[in-house]
């Protein structure tokens, strides 16, 4: 299911936009009722651009310029509980400050869209990209999708509202882009007309909201007798996401000719070595694949778009004929057997009839550049491991040792 591109049905506006700017435009077009956000690099352009739209009356939105990210998501929950369509955005330390409230948003079933410009966590303080921030919220109950391009960031933000607000789901969703690499880089972005987006997303129809005519209690104390049932229902809700996402994306594809899927398979059909990664390293990996293919090497890329819920069956199916899967990930899970993305993959493969060899490479922490050489190095090492029949649980690449 590679990225498809057909002639779009609607006239499009084409502009050079950063990932942040593309998300800000998408939020404006989605007729968001409340945006509550706090500035943090490299997400800041999103709030800046959006505030400008609001100041010029280009969007009918109440913007709450809160005093912290903890309050940003808390205000989103309050607004969402009334029945408004809401969004916020953050990165790094701001994401960490939100962490308590992530779980509240998910468990209270608030369909909030949270744009994350992925950035390393302190210490040392660092403003550049890795995935430590949003990976830290992977068990929060949020849906997590990761984008590879500014176009995808725009498209995904629009689709995110439909997925989150779907009655079968009612969960918050993170739309993640790589900080600076995507958030601050200008790419060609095709935008739909405002009216088309407005019609596509519709008006949010809340299911159970704070309504003086029908008073309900939201967020009660819940102990040993019922807490578990809340979690059981939350689990059921997130399991429903792939089907809803596919349905929403099919509808979106009719408008734009673009679709991404839960996974993108790039030259994987006959690949002996499959690179498994997401976000910006996936783009680099595809370029490396093209070069290696010219040399006759059977390499492909499996780009994960949806990290939560993890498309276990689809991943297993996609790599079943490969000899090895090479994981490139920008996060370290200190003290774990391997790192978050490889943990997911290895778990998915445990039940597989034929398990390819898995090599896990931690790359690019704190924005360390990931040039094609790093990807090639990982592939070369994996070839060695294939000969030996065994790979280490994980390694770091591109770091002084």
């Amino acid at each position: 299911m590679a990225t498809k591109s057909k002639t779009p049905k609607h006239p499009v506006d084409i502009e050079g936009l950063t990932g942040d700017a593309a998300i800000a435009v998408a939020l404006r077009q989605c007729d968001v009722d409340v945006v509550s956000a706090y500035p943090i690099t490299p997400q800041t352009i999103i709030v800046e651009d959006f505030q400008k739209f609001a100041a010029n009356g280009e969007t009918h939105t109440k913007v709450i310029p809160v005093e912290s990210e903890h309050s940003a998501l808390s205000a989103c929950i309050g607004a969402s509980a009334v029945g408004a369509r809401v969004a916020t955005t953050t990165a790094s330390a701001g994401f960490a400050l939100m962490w308590e409230v992530l779980y509240c948003a998910a468990s209270m079933r608030m369909p909030i869209v949270l744009a994350v410009a992925n950035r390393a966590l302190s210490a040392p303080i660092n403003i550049h990209n890795d995935w430590s921030d949003s990976y830290g919220g992977r068990d929060s109950g949020f849906i997590q999708v990761y984008c590879q391009s500014c176009q995808e960031a725009y498209d995904t933000t629009i689709m995110a509202f439909r997925v989150a607000e779907d009655r079968q789901v009612l969960l918050p969703i993170m739309v993640c882009i790589d900080g600076f690499i995507l958030s601050h880089n200008v790419e060609r972005v095709e935008m739909l007309p405002d009216e088309t987006v407005k019609k596509f997303v519709g008006v949010r129809e809340p299911f159970q909201n704070l309504d003086p005519d029908n008073p309900i209690t939201l967020g009660p104390l819940c102990l040993t007798d019922y807490y578990f049932e809340f979690k059981e229902q939350e689990d059921r809700a997130i399991r429903a996401v792939p089907e809803v996402y596919k349905r929403v994306e099919a509808e979106y594809e009719k408008l734009t000719g673009r679709s991404y899927g839960l996974l993108e398979k790039y030259k994987t059909d006959d690949a002996e070595i499959i690179i498994f990664t997401h976000s910006s390293p996936a783009g680099t990996a595809k370029a490396v694949t093209d070069v290696l293919r010219e040399k006759g090497e059977k390499v492909g890329v499996l780009r994960l778009k949806m990290f939560r819920p993890f498309p276990t069956d689809a991943v297993r199916e996609a790599v079943k004929n490969a000899k090895a899967v090479v994981v490139f990930e920008k996060c370290m899970s200190f003290g774990a057997p391997c790192n978050p993305l490889a943990l997911e993959l290895r778990t998915a493969l445990y039940e597989a009839e034929r398990r390819p060899l898995v090599a896990d490479f931690v790359i690019g922490l704190g924005g360390r550049d990931v040039p094609p050489e790093t990807i090639v190095q990982g592939i070369e090492k994996t070839k060695d491991y294939l000969k030996k029949g065994k790979a280490p649980m994980y390694e770091t690449l591109g770091v002084r040792k």
């Binding site: 409340v34 310029p65 005093e67 309050s71 940003a72 029945g83 008073p215 009660p220 104390l221």
Partner: protein, 316 residues
């Protein structure tokens, strides 16, 4: 939309209750009467946001709720932010024609821990942004819900499970944060102090708080028999004594500038000695040991000094 406040007993009996009986607050707790008095002041559709604390825990244990009006709890330190979201969302949805009422009143409620301490940043942010909401702190002087730990609202000389009275310590040594004045320094339209004993004063002030445009703040003293180690039947007497001793004087601050002393405080000829307030509570018992006599006298002197300063601000 505006229905009148119920100030007389006759009207109070007719006004719709917002909190049902059967909640699980302790006998003698000051919070339920505080909430019920708040209900007497309501003027129409209202949404309540509640910080984590005794009130939240004991009125909502799932699958039950004592609340008869829309109510939301998210976490401990963020009730002001939640209320900001509720207020702005309702406003914009009304503008877009998606609400049944033209206006709802938004009330945020927190205990002293949620207000003086962990939620102070969130409160200050909401005040600065100027949302149209009423914030009420029910101040029982400690983290009573987690088992009586000291807070920024705990009084000097008060014994808690994290400010023990011992051989070396007289309970908490530090003064209580002047929360009403900290809030008033944001120059919000209305700040008032209340107790559940002075019920007419309470309801009248709460109604004013609802009626001003922008943020308003109510500081309600709420005796806690469990934490204060007082008899459950003495709650109202303690609320009354808190005013008479100057521990919790009743006043209003308009626009952060104009101080008005309320009648129950203004009519006092002189302050009742603190001993009258202390002796009804186990948490101050140690202050009557000879080694803490000087400390106790200093606490009394500070209360008198604060009272004189307040009188000056109020022009009394």
């Amino acid at each position: 939309m505006s229905e009148p406040a119920a100030v007389t007993i006759k009207d109070m009996l007719k006004k719709k209750q917002i909190l049902s009986s059967g909640h699980r607050m302790c006998a003698g707790c000051g919070a339920p009467p505080t909430i019920k008095l708040m209900g007497m002041a309501l003027r129409g559709p209202t949404i309540v946001c509640n910080a984590t604390g005794c009130l939240e825990v004991a009125t909502t244990i799932y699958p039950f709720t004592a609340w008869k009006i829309p109510w939301i709890h998210v976490a401990f330190e963020n009730v002001s932010a939640v209320a900001s979201g509720v207020a702005e969302a309702y406003k914009v949805m009304t503008e877009k024609g998606r609400t049944k009422h033209e206006h709802v009143d938004v009330i945020a409620i927190g205990g002293d821990g949620a207000t003086f301490d962990i939620g102070l940043g969130s409160l200050s942010g909401a005040l600065e942004r100027g949302h149209d909401m009423v914030y009420m702190v029910y101040d029982n002087g400690a983290y009573q819900n987690t088992g009586i730990q000291r807070s920024g609202a705990t009084l000097p000389g008060q014994e808690t499970t994290t400010s023990w009275a011992g051989r070396l310590e007289p309970g908490k040594r530090q003064r209580k944060k002047p929360i009403a004045e900290i809030v008033a320094a944001h120059k919000i339209p209305y700040v008032a102090t209340v107790t559940p004993y002075h019920h007419r004063d309470f309801i009248t002030k709460f109604r004013k708080a609802l009626e001003v445009e922008g943020p308003a703040f109510i500081h309600a003293l709420s005796p806690c028999p469990r934490g204060w180690r007082s008899e459950s039947g003495k709650t109202m007497e303690l609320a009354k004594l808190a005013v008479e001793t100057g521990i919790h004087p009743l006043y209003e601050i308009i626009n952060g500038e104009q101080y008005i002393m309320s009648a129950p405080s203004k009519n006092l000829k002189e302050l009742t000695p603190l001993d009258e307030f202390f002796k009804l509570q186990g948490q101050f018992k140690h202050l009557y040991k000879p080694e803490w006599e000087d400390f106790r006298k200093q606490v009394q002197a500070n209360v008198i000094a604060d009272w004189e300063l307040l009188k000056k601000k109020c022009g009394v």
